[in-house]
């Protein structure tokens, strides 16, 4: 365990106002927080660790990717999440006028380069949350034009496909697949990705993935088999979010040799390279 590169000087712990909370799609909530100091520090793929202010239950924070840092209102930060348990229920119940406690921005962001590669953003269900912001920042940084980005959205069913409209607004081509065939390609996100790659034959590609672990494992396999460089944003139960409690570890290949070590998803992740991640 090395005392590695968290940059605590960039992390803030503060209480903020809830600006908005609404149902973006059935079961999917958008929470808008007033974070003028934090917003400009956020890089694509980083997360915020949040809890309702001033309550004992839920006790620990919950991690959420930054979904959007909108141009207006200035200083707003949007999170997007599905309600699956007590923490997300409590956060989904926050309303304007209430407050949240926020620690962030945390974690290592997605890395990108302007080398002409096509960026394929592969999402499973709510795993799409970090990708509209990533697409926006890829385009804004002048790294990757919208036409060189593909959003691949997989979900169990049509009602669980989120954020199509965000990619449309950015001019990013979007492919949808559902397990039950209720929309688009009939199959999972990784099968759909394989199809998208066929369409891109010959072009260099970089893959970004976020979603349930089985999907990410399959995507990793695809990347390794085809020698495509990939970055996966992964999910682990967290407590501190700062690398100190050692809750959120994942196995990573040692730089030299066949052995492995644990890294924390909160501090060394949540984004990991497909070549080194052993789960």
């Amino acid at each position: 365990m090395a005392l590695t590169a968290l940059r605590p000087e960039k992390v803030l712990l503060l209480e903020c106002d809830v600006l908005d909370s609404r149902e973006k799609a059935p079961g999917c909530r958008l929470l808008r927080l007033d974070l003028p100091e934090m917003a400009p520090r956020i890089e694509a793929g980083q997360f915020l660790h949040i809890r309702p202010a001033g309550v004992l239950t839920p006790y620990l924070r919950r991690p959420f990717s930054v979904y959007d840092v909108p141009a207006s209102p200035r200083g707003a930060v949007d999170l997007l999440f599905t309600v699956i348990g007590s923490g997300t229920y409590a956060l989904g119940s926050l309303r304007p006028g209430t407050r949240a406690s926020v620690l962030g921005p945390l974690g290592r962001p997605f890395r990108f380069a302007s080398d002409g590669a096509v960026s394929v953003l592969v999402a499973g269900g709510i795993g799409v949350a970090p990708f509209p912001d990533l697409a926006k920042k890829l385009i804004a940084a002048g790294s990757v034009p919208a036409k060189d980005i593909r959003a691949v959205l997989g979900a169990r069913s049509r009602s669980l496909v989120f954020c199509r409209e965000d990619f449309a607004a950015l001019g990013v081509p979007c492919e949808v697949g559902t397990d039950d065939g209720s929309e688009g390609f009939h199959g999972n996100a990784v099968q759909l990705t394989a199809r998208v790659l066929e369409g891109l034959r010959g072009q260099p590609v970089r893959i970004y993935g976020c979603g349930p672990e089985p999907m990410l494992r399959a995507l990793q396999k695809l990347c390794v088999e085809r020698k495509i460089s990939g970055q996966l944003s992964i999910d682990r139960r967290m407590a501190c979010g700062l690398g100190i409690c050692r809750s959120c570890v994942v196995r990573v290949k040692d730089p030299a040799g066949p052995d492995w070590h644990f890294e924390t998803v909160c501090r060394e992740g949540p984004v990991f390279d497909t070549e080194t991640l052993l789960w």
């Binding site: 365990m1 000087e9 239950t57 620990l60 139960r237 700062l242 050692r246 809750s247």
Partner: protein, 300 residues
């Protein structure tokens, strides 16, 4: 706010608890370590340890379960890389070690003694997350033997960290003091469990795990009371302490200083906040010196 614990002068009676604050330095400047009375490092062992497989933690009502399994970089790395970064600061440095038997405990203590720069050593006799870890503080004879072996290696104040997972902590506390402990830390985590009934599996990779947080505060307070009545002080108290109010409950009950643990995961600045809130809270009760409050709960 200054207090003295086993001869160690603390600028205030608030420490962070082992395993809940890393080694401190990796959190600056997000936290202001110089506002703490002391810093207890995460348990170190003779060799680096990877710890248990995930999932390692799970939230429970007003607390959490953990089965980290003493992941740590090992004593050499601690002495060479971490201790030098803690020297010459306003807070006091407490190391925390765990061995497999009395001899390995003693070797760890001897290494720390040689390294220097350690104001106090906590002997983790009570980690529930490694095989054999609890034995040292559920068996009075073993506790005495481990502490005595460590005592022979150093004059640095030793604190035996006790488990609440016994019928009566008093005999263990007595044995640790007989072995030569200068003080006692009460308490480590309470053994617990969580089950995912749908998967018919434990929520954690380890079947049983340690419960911490506000949920265990009454248990910790009870143990402090029992230990204080059995052997007196000094006692470092841990267990669900998250506010200055909580801290004062423990000081009145006989603790000389408190450790903030799980609360730091919720709010990483919790220890410094507790320290900062103490003076005004004491003043509101007309208490000028915190030492006038310590142990003022009648013993019967």
């Amino acid at each position: 706010m200054a207090v003295s614990v086993a001869g160690i002068a603390l600028q205030n009676p608030v420490l962070c608890a082992s395993g809940t604050f890393g080694y401190g330095v990796e959190l600056e400047p997000l936290v202001r370590l110089d506002r703490l009375g002391g810093l207890v490092g995460k348990t170190v062992t003779a060799e680096p340890r990877r710890g248990n497989a995930p999932p390692r933690t799970f939230e429970t009502p007003a607390g959490m379960l953990n089965s980290i399994g003493l992941e740590n970089p090992g004593i050499e790395s601690y002495c060479e890389e971490i201790l030098p970064r803690l020297r010459g600061r306003a807070f006091r440095v407490f190391a925390n070690v765990a061995g497999e038997d009395a001899r390995s405990f003693a070797r760890l203590v001897s290494r720390l003694d040689r390294a220097g720069g350690v104001d106090g050593i906590e002997l983790n006799l009570s980690c529930p997350n490694v095989a054999g870890g609890l034995d040292f503080s559920t068996d009075a004879r073993l506790a005495r033997e481990v502490v005595a072996a460590c005592r022979a290696e150093t004059r640095v104040p030793l604190f035996a960290k006790l488990t609440p997972n016994v019928t009566d902590p008093a005999p263990i506390a007595v044995a640790a003091r007989e072995g030569g402990a200068d003080g006692l830390t009460c308490v480590n985590t309470v053994l617990g469990m969580a089950v995912d009934w749908r998967r018919r599996a434990s929520r954690l990779s380890a079947r049983h795990a340690g419960l911490s947080g506000p949920a265990i505060r009454p248990i910790a307070l009870r143990v402090v009371d029992q230990v204080r009545r059995a052997v007196g002080g000094p006692i470092l108290a841990a267990g669900g302490i998250a506010t200055a109010e909580d801290a004062l409950e423990f000081l009145v009950a006989g603790a000389s200083a408190v450790q903030v643990g799980t609360a730091s995961f919720v709010e990483i600045t919790a220890p410094e906040r507790v320290a900062a809130d103490l003076p005004a809270l004491l003043a509101s009760a007309g208490v000028g010196d915190v030492n006038d409050l310590i142990g003022t709960l009648p013993k019967d």
